[in-house]
Amino acid sequence: MSLLKSREAILALAILALLGLIASRFPSFVSPRSLARVLTDTSPLILLALGQMAVILTKCIDLSVAANLALCGMVAALLNGAGVPLPLILLAVIALGAALGAFNGVLVWKLGIPSIVVTLGTMTIYRGTIFLLTGGAWVNAHQMSAAFKAFPRTVIAGLPVMAWIAVAVTAGFALLMTRTPLGRAFYAAGGNPHAAVYTGISVGRTQFLAFVLAGALAGLTGYLWVARYAVAYVDIAGGFELDVVAACVIGGIAIAGGAGTVAGCVMGALFLGIIKNALPVVGISPFWQMAISGSAILIAIAFNAASRREPGRIILKKAEARQLQEAGQ
């Protein structure tokens, strides 16, 4: 009963049903190798969705993540061209991503500008900056060092490093969100900002940290993206921010803040990733992908709203008893 009521369980069932449906006609899609490829393909979405989750939990939104990713990716490619060793590049893009996130966060925290306005502005600024850096030029595969390109694709125990990073960050986020004061502060600041102040949590500072986290992950993903696809230019990952928000929404992260889980978020990203990878396999034009993910978003919000609908204040004693029983006590 309580298992069926959980959003995560339903999403997991939906993913299994989707896989089953595809497998019934195209069994090769569910082979371990194919699934590993889906996971690897979806890794950037998972990484960004986790960062976005932290931001959305605090009642904000970050529309600049894709531009941040693109800028950091380009910087990684340029640093590589300048002969900077890979570990330093990794550090640099994570720091740059975090700094770009911090810029968003400061405007939200210290100036109280709504996050949607801030990140709407910074998404164009960050992407425009790539043009200023390169004059619109591309960095192509032959301009990148072999080590630079090889790192995300190196296979360890059957999975490429890129996928392992997504797995590790997911695990880290699961710990962060449920087992650390900062994680709980994300939920508190978005769930009830008024009460958060009473418990000594600074809402603005918490939002700032969420932006920094989202930015750092976008920076890391920027390198992974550019290295995996072996190309960097102004428009990489254009519009990706909407996929990221979509993954969060499908994963049950409440846009009003304060509710949602890491498991849901990752499954939301996987759901979109499976659809994207399955379309060519089952022979549907990839042009269907956009409409399908749009519909998935709408179904997910409608579903989330229905499961969160406030029944009213609980005053009747029997209503409380009923509620607790349904919650699976």
């Binding site: 710990l175 449920t178 087992r179 650390t180 004061p181 709980r184 939920y187 508190a188 769930g191 009830n192 008024h194 009460a195 102040v197 009473y198 418990t199 000594g200 949590i201 600074s202 304060g258 509710a259 029944p311 009213g312 204040r313 609980i314 005053i315 009747l316 004693k317 209503a319 409380e320 509620q323 607790l324 349904e326 919650a327 006590q329």
Partner: protein, 508 residues
């Protein structure tokens, strides 16, 4: 009237001196003082609007005083954040439960100071175990893993108390701690207070129930209109004396209730039910009558009123207006049917801050002041002027943002807004909560006048003197049901409280 501190206990743990706090339009505190002693309960007494909640916010680091000193153990200090207050050992159990619905009971109790494992992670097992211990200590049978949103208001209150106890506090503030508790739970709370006293904690007890104060407090302090009036020992106090200091005049002067000419039924409610909020609500309201609704905070009174006003829909039941059955599905339909509602939560539901006074007043009457859907400002100003003057509104201009007015004047704007629609039934939900004495008298006076003119009035109030002073008849609600109804000589404070808290054996 200033009493000397009691001899044996020595210095106060925490003292406030000359605290001033101003908000836009209101001077909430004007040079108040307060002393809290270890092992003693100090009752802070004052009407709504006396500055009690502001002092709590200053003590817990939410607000900073404009002037004045906070002295802990003889050393002057500041509480720039809630954390600083917590670190100094000040904790509060709030009137409104400030908690997190999406978190579990244990997480709510320990957020901000959860036990950690060796690795610095939150130790959830230890957290649940300790939560269970604390809850058991206050006699609360709650599962620490239950999500808060699944709990009722009384249970949430117990979680708030458990949270305050989970912090190793030296000063515990209890802001109306019994407002939502049943008789049994109140008895347990008293035991708890005794336990805390024995541990040497200083307790600030905010309540306007005198029986409670006389039962558990050792000392008293009275505030009125944001100013310190007097302080002393409970043993030397009398109820009449405290009331006089609280209101600044004697009680019977305040309620200008005129004799009612009760007319035919204006509204008949039959068997209203709601899945979680109330059930089996049946009553009749007459023209010219003021019908009081009394009960504990969270007894479901506002919820019933909001169902009558079309905010929520009852799952069962019918209501009759005059002699026709009406189904009210929206507030627009309620207003059209002549039912209006002055909400308790003035800031959120009453006034539209950001709009000027006149636009607030004309909001439900735009159809009358406009022509073919186009605004006519002159008509709007005329209507607003007429009704704000009748209520003796104090404002710089009708074009002023309503948010800049004091609580009492905002309430007058809300009432003016509804009177301008010429209603037949007016529901006032805690109409004088948090407003100054002058405005309070104006609201009471006006309520009497309206009833005398034949309007049917429902007044929801948690203040017994107000309920008794203004109502022709009183309905008492408890846990979402009508517990009792009193008229005439049965309308006594004892009867009301007994029905509201559900004393064992009576009306179950």
């Amino acid at each position: 009237m200033q009493a000397t501190p009691p001899a044996a206990d020595g210095a106060p743990v925490l003292s406030l001196r000359d605290i001033v706090k101003t908000f836009p339009g209101v001077r909430a505190l004007n040079g108040v003082r307060l002393d809290l002693f270890p092992g003693q309960v100090t009752a802070l007494i004052g009407e709504n609007g006396a500055g009690k909640s502001t002092i709590v916010k200053i003590l817990t680091g939410i607000h900073q005083p404009d002037e004045g000193r906070i002295i802990v153990d003889g050393t002057e200090t500041r509480f720039p954040t809630a954390q600083a207050a917590g670190a100094a050992g000040v904790t509060a159990i709030h009137q409104e439960t400030v908690l997190f619905d999406e978190m579990t009971v244990a997480e709510n109790i320990f957020i901000g100071h959860a036990p950690r494992t060796r690795w610095g992670l939150i130790d959830r097992r230890a957290m649940r175990r300790r939560a269970k211990e604390i809850l058991a200590g206050i006699g609360a049978d709650l599962n620490p893993a239950a999500r808060l949103r699944d709990l009722g208001i009384a249970s949430k209150h117990l979680v708030a108390i458990a949270r305050a106890l989970s912090i190793d506090a030296r000063v515990v503030i209890m802001d109306e701690p019994t407002a939502a508790l049943s008789h049994k739970e109140i008895a347990e709370l008293y035991e708890l207070v005794e336990k805390l006293k024995a541990q040497g904690k200083a307790i600030l007890f905010i309540s306007h129930k005198f029986d409670e104060i006389f039962r558990i407090a050792d000392r008293w302090t009275v505030f009125r209109d944001g100013a310190f009036v007097a302080e002393g020992l409970m043993a030397e106090a009398t109820e009449a004396g405290l009331v006089r200091m609280m209101v600044g005049r004697s009680v019977d002067q305040i309620y200008p209730k005129r004799p009612a000419r009760i007319g035919p039924p204006a509204l008949t409610v039959a068997g209203y039910c709601h899945p979680t909020e109330f059930e089996d609500i049946t009553f009749t309201l007459h023209q010219g009558e003021i019908l009081g609704f009394y009960g504990l905070v969270g007894a479901g009174r506002s919820e019933v009123m909001q169902a009558l006003f079309g905010i929520t829909r009852p799952s069962k039941g019918a209501c009759r207006l005059g002699d026709q059955v009406r189904v009210i599905r929206s507030t627009a339909q309620a207003v059209a049917a002549g039912i209006v509602y002055v909400p308790e939560d003035r800031g959120r539901q009453g006034t539209v801050k950001g709009l000027p006074i006149f636009q607030n007043v004309t909001l439900p009457s735009l159809a009358r002041t406009s022509r073919a859907g186009f605004l006519r400002l002159a008509e709007e100003f005329a209507l607003a002027r007429e009704y704000t003057q009748r209520l003796d509104l104090r404002a710089a201009s009708l074009d002023q943002d309503v948010g800049l007015l004091s609580g009492g004047n905002q309430q007058k704007v809300v009432i003016a807004k509804w009177l301008a629609t010429k209603p037949r039934i007016i529901i006032l939900d805690e109409p004088t909560k948090g407003i100054d004495i002058g405005s309070k008298a104006a609201v009471h006076d006006f309520m009497s006048e309206l009833a005398a003119q034949g309007l049917a009035v429902i007044m929801v109030s948690s203040e017994i003197p107000e309920v008794l002073g203004m109502s022709d008849r009183v309905i008492v609600m408890r846990e979402g049901r009508i517990a009792a109804e009193f008229t005439g000589d049965d309308m006594t404070p004892e009867n009301l409280v007994r029905a509201a808290v559900g004393i064992e054996g009576a009306a179950a």
